[in-house]
């Protein structure tokens, strides 16, 4: 704790302060505290009070249990290994696509974005089916394991592999936003000075892009930490318990202590996430690679004869991480019953007919999810642009604290965030209104959860902007509002738009936050998929998931087609 205190107290230096506007800046934190910090505090209270009295009973029970520490160690191991895999895949993709002369970049990147849109539960299910005894693919080549043979994915490494694959696009996107600002001139200068091959990469490109790489790594780690779907689908049958699955189990044994213990475990996840972010800041703090902020011509490193090999490798990875789960998903949606092998003569579109025309919930859920995700994207951009500016350019204790706290709702398992929101918003003190049982509570929970997704890219782009631009404007007498409008916003707009799009795509089929918050008529697509699968209708669940992925791909295609009319950088996957 002392270290955190010291760190918070560390620096109050201002870059070009302006007293009037500085006094107003803390107001920016009001919405953030309301949507993101208060629910966490309310949840923490659940763990620190027993029947209204302050008590450390839950804390002691949880901290003294060896299970807690085993789960923590497992969480750290899978999240770290998973992050390493994400960085490897996502980083390689970002560098190769952004800096080299490989062909069909637009298609590659477009496809690389999709795995993130497939719900993790479905990815896990697809991989288990793919590698299990009834695998259509392995059976076709006579390599399927025998009935009852152990499933290799039910292990720590299995969990890490799928976490890594699922979150590779996060690293990719964050890094790419950074690479976009990498001026060709600088690299060419290095080349002229004699830097070649490895040296060019290690001494010029990597340092210049390290803010994005570190941010992407931190983000992938935090995401992996809180991912429930994969850890549950692989960890529970594999008897490998992590913090999210331990929380889930505490909740299954319903009793008065359940919420208290869950709250303590949630704090533990929060602490790990914050430590991860502190490390991230520590690493970033040591570097200052501010670039001009004017997008130069993209680099174009020629790979020569190796180009074909690189291209084959990239497409092979894509087939593994995209085509495989997607095929499994489609196959499951077409079988007449679970476990039946799909053949040319027995496929059926009945599940699609059921979800589209018989059950009105599907259309309702599409409608709700669309409102929620578009709304969240718009509101978050509005909040994040000024917020990121303040955090980057006016580092005070408060801004640093907020910068840490917004990470927590994203790191917690969705179920835990949902409980926090119920506790706080079921009856809002003073106002005496209730958000519970309406779409509004899901909306607020989405704002809390996805704030960080919108915030980080904008922060990154502010960090890369050379303050000299702003200082020059200030020297000419431009106030904060004027500087924001004429200099900062235009330069940050692409990152903000990319963040918004990302929020929209992630929120559109979010599964676990809304699972506890929905009520009659307020279903989201995620709730629908979760409930169908949970009540044994996996085929119907797959059909809805196929429709969701279909709509997302259609929307992405729409953005792609519209991209020529949009400023460069708005579409996160566009070359």
């Amino acid at each position: 704790m002392q270290a955190v205190g010291r760190w918070l107290a560390a620096s109050d230096r201002h870059v070009g302060g302006n007293r009037f506007s500085d006094r107003l800046l803390p107001l920016l934190f009001v919405p953030v505290i309301f949507i993101s910090v208060l629910p966490m505090l309310r949840l923490a209270a659940e763990g620190l009070f027993v029947q209204g009295m302050p008590s450390l009973d839950y804390l002691r029970d949880v901290m003294q249990s060896s299970q807690t520490w085993r789960a923590t160690a497992h969480s750290l191991y899978t999240a770290a290994l998973g992050t390493a895999i994400s960085v490897l895949i996502g980083g390689a993709f970002a560098f190769l696509v952004a800096l080299t002369d490989i062909r069909a970049k637009a298609a590659l990147v477009f496809c690389f974005m999709i795995p993130m849109m497939i719900p993790p539960q479905i990815t896990a299910l697809a991989w288990v089916q793919l590698t299990g005894p009834s695998s259509a693919l392995l059976n076709a080549i006579g390599m399927a394991p025998a009935l009852g043979s152990p499933q290799p994915l039910y292990s720590a490494e299995g969990i890490a592999l799928l976490l890594g694959i699922q979150h590779a696009s996060i690293v990719f996107l964050t890094l790419r936003a950074n690479l976009r600002l990498l001026p060709r001139e600088q690299v060419e200068a290095a080349r002229l000075a004699g830097a070649r091959g490895g040296r060019l990469w290690w001494q010029v490109i990597l340092p210049l892009t390290s803010p994005g790489l570190i941010a992407g790594t931190a983000m992938a780690f935090v995401t992996a930490l809180g991912n429930f779907g994969i850890q549950a689908m692989l960890g529970i049958p594999g008897n490998y318990i992590t913090l999210p699955t331990l929380i889930y189990r505490k909740l299954s044994s319903f009793g008065p202590a359940a919420l208290g213990e869950v709250s303590v475990l949630a704090m533990l996840i929060g602490v790990i996430a914050v430590l991860g972010v502190l490390l991230h800041h520590h690493l970033l703090g040591k570097r200052d690679y501010r670039l001009m902020g004017v997008v130069g011509r993209p680099l174009d490193i020629r790979l020569g004869a190796r180009r074909v090999i690189v291209e084959i490798a990239l497409w092979a990875v894509l087939i593994a991480i995209l085509v495989v789960p997607l095929m499994a998903l489609v196959a499951t949606s077409l079988v007449p019953a679970f476990g039946v092998r799909l053949g040319i003569d027995n496929f059926s579109f009945d599940a699609f007919y059921q979800v589209l025309f018989v059950q009105p919930a599907t259309i309702r859920a599409f409608h709700n999810s669309l409102i929620l995700s578009v709304g969240a994207a718009i509101v978050l951009v509005g909040i994040c642009l000024p917020l990121a500016y303040v955090i980057v350019r006016r580092p005070t204790r408060l801004t640093k604290l907020v910068n840490l706290l917004v990470e927590i709702p994203y790191a917690l398992p969705g179920v835990v965030l949902a409980i926090a929101c119920i506790l706080l918003f079921i009856r809002i003190p003073v106002l005496d209104i209730s958000l519970y049982g309406t779409l509004a509570i899901i909306f607020v929970a989405y704002l809390a959860r996805f704030l960080i997704i919108a915030l980080r890219p904008v922060m990154n782009s502010f960090m890369q902007l050379d303050p000299a631009l702003e200082e020059a404007a200030q020297a000419c007498g431009a106030g904060l509002a004027r500087r924001l409008r004429d200099i900062l916003l235009p330069l940050a707009a692409p990152a903000a738009a990319a963040g918004a799009l990302l929020v929209f795509l992630t929120a559109f089929n979010e599964l676990t936050v809304s699972a506890l918050l929905w009520s009659a008529g307020n279903e989201t697509l995620g709730v629908l998929i979760f409930n169908l699968d949970d009540s044994g209708d996996s085929v119907l669940a797959s059909a809805v998931a196929v429709l969701v992925v279909g709509v997302v791909i259609a929307l992405m295609t729409g953005f792609q087609l519209a991209s020529r009319h949009l400023p460069k950088g708005v579409i996160p996957w566009q070359s």
């Binding site: 299954s252 319903f254 709304g375 706080l424 699968d533």
Partner: protein
């Protein structure tokens, strides 16, 4: 630009403001029945009482209890009526004073073992747990003891009592049984039976052939079989364990009269006919059984007491976790 963003934000927030005002007669139901069954139950109730509006939430028992737990902690539990998986959960709520009693006139058509003598909860259907196997296997099990055969090492999957309420009742029933007891569980552990997750995952593992033998609730297996999944279901010779999807009224219910109507409805002939049509065993004595089930007299139910099960729950879970090296 900024103004547009703000306007849009305000507009979307206003759209989602809570609806104020309530219908004269309303019922809030939390249920863990599968989606379609929940819809059917609600539709039938609304057909019988057209003036009553029903708000219902369907989720797995775990999630539903987490949601309800948070509501209770925040001092504002919403549901009037619960219709959820097992009597042990409700027995626990009864003992914590979270339920209210109601003596339903329909109770006389039920075995006394199927409802609480004080009227705190009533069973609505029997969901038995038996053996499911993938039809690809050569040995067809007929009894619980068959699963203890060392020849089936590494071939068995079952729901974990650490995650599933039905599995905890199953454990409690079998270990209280003098012929099986903890020795039987030890044999399963020696057979490296996988006991993690819930019924859905177990069924999927068997249907996909990943583990050819499983312990699972009847309707999942029988429905899957009827749809064409390569599985079959066995009512073991020693008898089956069962959960009963009981209905109960919360102490904090706001619509008590309507709640009484709902309890009577699900216990009535008409309500039980629905249960039958959905493919479950009705709890009411005088009802038929769904297609695919043996005759009622041929289904042997193993003895079970919710209060005993609740009392031993923590110790049972702990012992189980040690035995199976489960976490």
């Amino acid at each position: 630009m900024m103004r547009k963003v703000l306007l849009a934000a305000v507009a979307s927030a206003t759209m989602m403001l809570p609806f104020v005002g309530q219908a004269a007669e309303k019922l809030v139901l939390y249920t863990s029945q599968p989606n379609q069954d929940a819809q059917t139950t609600v539709d039938a109730f609304k057909a019988a009482y057209p003036d009553i509006e029903v708000d219902w939430v369907r989720d797995g028992t775990t999630k539903l209890m987490a949601k309800l737990g948070a509501e209770i902690a925040a001092g504002d539990p919403r549901p009037d009526v619960l219709l959820i998986a097992d009597t042990v959960t409700l027995e626990g709520m009864k003992q914590q004073g979270q339920l209210q009693a109601y003596k339903s006139p329909e109770a006389k058509a039920y075995e006394p073992a199927l409802y609480d003598a004080d009227g705190y909860y009533y069973s609505t259907k029997l969901i038995t747990t038996g053996i499911v196997y993938n039809t690809g296997v050569s040995r067809k099990p007929t009894s619980w003891k068959d699963l203890a055969d060392p020849a089936l090492k590494n071939q068995i999957v079952m729901p974990s009592p650490l995650y599933s309420g039905a599995a905890l009742i199953h454990l409690s029933t079998l270990t209280e049984n003098p012929d099986l007891g903890w020795d039987y569980y030890q044999a399963l552990a020696d057979n490296k039976a996988r006991a993690q997750g819930g019924n859905g995952g177990t069924f999927k593992a068997v249907a996909s052939g990943e583990k050819p033998y499983g312990v699972v609730v009847d309707f999942l297996a029988l429905r899957g079989k009827a749809d064409g999944s390569p599985v079959d279901f066995v009512f073991p010779s020693e008898g089956v364990t069962y959960v009963t999807e009981p209905v109960a009224i919360l102490k904090t219910a706001k619509n008590v009269d309507v709640a009484h109507k709902f309890v009577d409805f699900v216990l009535s002939d008409k309500g039980q006919k629905l249960v039958l049509d959905m493919g479950y065993i009705p709890a009411r004595n005088d009802m038929d059984l769904p297609a695919g089930f043996p005759a009622r007299k041929d289904i042997k139910l193993m003895a079970f007491d919710p209060a005993v099960s609740l009392k031993n729950a923590e110790a049972n879970k702990k012992k189980f976790a040690e035995m199976f090296g489960a976490e």
